[in-house]
């Protein structure tokens, strides 16, 4: 029996193997060198596009209500913090082109209020808050839906939260006579408080002559706590607000 004889790898064969391996490594390195910057550029461009689209979406949301050039310029009163005493509001008169339509007019004044005064220290609402939607119900109750930033970016406290709400109600009172009451929603939802203090479950009186509460402003109550106090049960039909875009 003849045993199989394994031929030793000859010198030239080993050299060829080394050559091909080196070539492969070079190709990989060159490919990586070329493609990594391209991939990086593409990632940056994708991130930029995403950011742009977010900004665009935000701009679309924040975009002021289109101003009709034929709208008369009206001297409007907007309420921000008083320069003399930051614990109270003071009216600032600004000439604005305001629509005669109460919903558009309300959006225009609230967006101007959100934009803030010249002195940013006197603003009452956070700069990143956005008015997402605004409706007026037939009974004069206005519903303003704000982005979450209104609740998350406002300085927490009874005073600061109440001043924020008051700046809105007093600005609406001064500029939109059709609005009797204001209901504030956060991102389409009813919130219990603005930032832990001021109650958002009901409506705020805008015009004193309409201080009577709407038919059923009762917020959803918690389960009965003390037996002696009656907890009213809300039914589906007793919903306080039915949103009806105009």
């Amino acid at each position: 029996m003849m045993e199989p004889v394994t031929e030793p790898v000859t010198g030239p064969a080993r050299e060829r193997w080394k050559f091909w391996l080196a070539t492969l490594v070079v190709f990989v390195l060159v490919g990586a060198a070329i493609s990594i910057p391209i991939i990086r550029r593409r990632m940056k461009r994708a991130a930029r596009l995403q950011q742009q689209s977010e900004e665009q979406a935000r701009r679309e949301l924040t975009q002021s209500v289109p101003v009709n050039p034929s709208d008369p310029r009206v001297k409007s009163k907007l309420f921000w913090l008083s320069d003399a005493d930051n614990s109270v509001l003071a009216p600032v008169t600004i000439e604005l082109p305001l629509s005669s339509d109460p919903v558009l007019r309300s959006k225009q004044v609230l967006n101007t209020l959100l934009a803030g005064p010249v002195d940013v220290e006197l603003r009452t609402l956070p700069p990143d808050a956005v008015l997402l939607a605004f409706y007026i119900l037939p009974d004069g109750t206005a519903i303003a839906d704000f982005s979450e930033a209104l609740a998350t970016s406002i300085p927490s406290g009874i005073s600061s939260e109440q001043l924020a709400v008051d700046s809105m109600t007093r600005t609406l009172e001064a500029n939109v006579p059709e609005v009797k009451r204001l209901k504030i929603l956060i991102h389409g939802q009813e919130a219990e408080t603005l930032a832990g203090h001021v109650d958002l479950t009901g409506t705020f009186v805008v015009r004193a002559d309409a201080s009577q509460a709407p038919a059923n402003p009762v917020p959803a109550p918690a389960a009965g706590k003390v037996g002696a106090i009656v907890v009213p049960t809300l039914t589906a039909g007793s919903s306080a607000f039915k949103l009806a875009p105009r």
Partner: protein, 285 residues
């Protein structure tokens, strides 16, 4: 006939037995009614000058005091002894409240203020109940429920603002709430503060006056705000907000605590003679 006579005899003895049982039951019932009547009478004498016991349903903790006073035909108010103060250090748990420089958190500082206020009130002879003892966060309704279960109590919620002139203190009472009572005289839970607004304003003005004497720059009278915590509280209720977490040094706030506590205690003492229990009809004293 003899058989019928026997039957008649049996029927008579059964009737007698039934009559005897009814008689015994009647005696027990009469005795129970008399005992109850005597107890009611003695309670009415102990309570106040009037002798007519209230027969209306008790709709709140405080209404028991109205019943004891025996005011006729649901009279509006009655004098009573204010002896409990429910102290509410706001926020807690994951709700830190206002946050300032150097890690100052409202939820922590209100606990320190509450300890000082508690001490000052107890020195004045009040029983103090706190809505939270540690770093937990009861719901608004749970906090209110603690006050609503007390008789003759006032409710004080403590806050530290994130704005305002540092070193000043503001007292708030709830904005007007439409008073609604149900047909049976009960007050809806979600507007429990409505009948107490007048008392809350008196308490608020008194406490604010005491605070302003000590902390210059504070308002002269209590302010109104739409405060969620106060709306469901069935007692004279105020919020005290100290300015602010935006101080250079936490010690500035710590130094305010004894003064705030003393002013609150003196305000509650001044309010005590004015404390009257409103009826559930929503009349504001």
């Amino acid at each position: 006939m003899g058989e019928f006579d026997m039957l008649l005899d049996v029927g008579t003895s059964q009737r007698l037995r039934i009559l005897a049982i009814c008689g015994i039951a009647f005696l027990f019932l009469a005795g129970a009614i008399m005992t109850r009547g005597l107890q009611t009478s003695s309670q009415a004498h102990q309570g106040a000058s009037s002798t007519a016991p209230s027969t209306s349903a008790v709709s709140m903790g405080q209404s028991a005091a109205t019943a004891a006073s025996g005011s006729p035909s649901g009279a509006q108010t009655s004098p009573s002894g204010l002896n409990v103060v429910v102290l509410d250090p706001a926020h807690g748990g994951t709700d830190l409240g206002a946050r300032g420089t150097g890690g100052i958190q409202e939820s922590d500082i209100v606990m320190e203020f509450a300890a000082e206020v508690r001490k000052a009130l107890e020195q004045q002879g009040f029983q103090v109940v706190q809505t939270r003892q540690g770093n937990d966060n009861p719901s608004f309704d749970d906090r209110s429920a603690i006050a609503n279960a007390q008789r003759n109590a006032v409710f004080i919620t403590l806050h530290i603002a994130s704005t305002g002139l540092p070193g000043t203190v503001r007292v708030y009472v709830n904005s007007d709430l439409p008073t609604v009572t149900t047909a049976n005289g009960f007050i809806p839970w979600d507007r429990a503060q409505a009948p107490f607004l007048g008392l809350s304003r008196k308490l608020g003005d008194l406490v604010q006056g005491m605070l302003t004497q000590r902390f210059k720059g504070s308002p002269d009278t209590a302010q109104t705000a739409t405060i969620r915590q106060l709306r469901t509280t069935a007692a004279p209720a105020i919020a005290v907000e100290v300015s602010s977490v935006v101080v250079n040094d936490r010690a500035d706030l710590d130094h305010m605590a004894p003064g705030v506590a003393d002013a609150i205690a003196r305000g509650v003492v001044a309010f005590k003679p004015l404390y009257i229990v409103p009826s559930t009809s929503g009349a504001l004293p």
